[in-house]
Amino acid sequence: MKPAGPILVVEDIVKRFDTPDGALTAIDRVSFDVAPGEFLAVIGPSGCGKSTLFNVIGGLIDGYQGRVSVAGETVRGPHAALGMVFQEESTFPWRTVIENVAFPLEIAGVAKAERIERARHFVALVGLAGFERRYPAELSGGMRQRVSMARTLASEPKILLMDEPFAALDEQTRLLLGDKVLQIQQELKQTTLLITHNITEAVQLSDRILVMTYRPGRVKRVVSIDLPRPRTSEIVSSDAFGHYVAQIWSDLREEATRGMQDAEAHSRRERATP
């Protein structure tokens, strides 16, 4: 095994869905790979099949063409080396923060004392030390999303897979949480694949950005982000940052417009009530 080779390889993925209007191609011949320690973002407008791609890589859906492999091993079902952070609120409301974070260790059969100890480390890592005994309902949305992230990190995945983890949060919280992610990545050298529709977020965090087209989702362009590391959210005020954002928006604008027109046409057909 070559240490320098890619740890995640995605080859020629095609995924179609049956819908009442006929077959719909969600993603079409998507290929890329991720090197160890790399932070890669996949960006695209709503409806470009980002979440489908996320589920395919995470092994949560099958019935697609192509191949996903992790460290040379083909993915069939959820893979131990992949840790997923979901877009939706996904903390267990019946578990405290520490119990949530210890969940993957519990599934793996780690003894109670040890898993609590290890979970404590990850709770501290996402900056929630002191909240161990709280229930999710007692926390803010941003804090809950950090609990989810700590939970996934606690399973010590080789690759962290995140699906718009900050989509439900406000812009300022999102920037500050971005700092947290940067810091964690610095500390753990965590290989990360981030799915997002937020340009600032993608540029702020990534080494490379994959821009997708609107339906069917294809890889439109790959942009390398040569911003210095370690970074913080202050980078958003730099010229280089603005340049990247402008460049990616010019690629995305056309796709987003197509998406919006498509959605309007769809609503007109459905005569959906408000």
Partner: protein, 262 residues
């Protein structure tokens, strides 16, 4: 700060008027009963005075024989709830987990659910005999339906993302059930058990009124057939109190964690 201040002060402020109102309402109901009883508007012996009912209640509570009957009924109901509850839970989980099974068999459960179970009693006697068996069977068929249906519905209401979380961590099926499905469905299951408890009590006691020489249902019908109305009301009051108590207890179990407002 203001929030916590309100939280600590509010119950003290509200509790008193609530208690007052409750006492007032009970007093009003009792007064109404007594008025009807004294007025003779309804046949006197059927609406006995509060004194007569209280006397009967006191006599019941010092009668050790009564607690034997109460124990019999309680045991029958408990066994019925365990058997009916567990089978309801398993069937509910199966129907909720599998779309095909759910669509194929749930309609039948919905049709049989509202069918009054007492009509099956002649059959239950023949199947399970005249002893506690037929009463337990009545309790079981009564509580099976609400528990199975609310488990199946609860299963479908589970936030899908929680299931995906479990799968992403490669939880085994039993881990999914014990660590995700059941805790996530606590509320619908507890509600199902509450409903199930109510109908199990009704099913078991009605069966006892029809055929038995033990149990509270037997005492009720025996008091009625000898026209000892104060004793009958005293028995009903005790049954109601116990039902209300158990219901509150189960309800407290179900309240559990605060909800996340989405």
């Amino acid at each position: 700060m203001a929030e916590t201040g309100r939280l600590t002060r509010a119950p003290a402020l509200v509790a008193n008027p609530v208690m007052l109102l409750r006492v007032g309402l009970i007093a009003a109901v009792l007064a109404l009963w007594q008025t009807v009883s004294v007025s003779g508007l309804l046949f006197r012996d059927v609406v006995p005075s509060l004194g007569a009912i209280a006397g009967a209640l006191a006599r019941l509570l010092v009668d050790p024989g009564f607690f034997g009957h109460l124990g019999t009924s309680a045991l029958e109901i408990a066994v019925a709830l365990v058997i009916g509850g567990l089978s309801g839970l398993i069937v509910g989980l199966a129907l909720g987990a599998n779309r095909l099974l759910g669509k194929a068999f749930e309609p039948y459960l919905y049709y049989l659910g509202p069918t009054p179970k007492i009509i099956f009693f002649p059959i239950m006697i023949m199947w399970f005999g005249v002893g506690p068996g037929s009463k337990v069977a009545m309790g079981v068929i009564s509580c099976f339906f609400p528990i199975a249906l609310s488990t199946a519905a609860g299963m479908r209401q589970i936030d899908r993302v929680l299931i995906r979380v479990g799968r992403s961590f490669r939880a085994a099926t039993w881990q999914m059930v014990s660590k995700i499905y059941l805790p996530a469905m606590r509320e619908p299951i507890v509600n199902g058990v509450r409903l199930g408890f109510g109908v199990a009590v009704i099913g078991t006691l009605l069966a006892e009124t029809k055929l038995s020489n033990r149990g509270v249902g037997f005492l009720v019908i025996n008091s009625y057939s000898t026209f000892d109305m104060p004793r009958m009301y005293a028995l009903l009051i005790i049954v109601f109190m116990i039902a209300i108590g158990v219901n509150a207890l189960v309800g407290r179990l179900g309240a559990g964690r605060p909800h996340i407002k989405s």
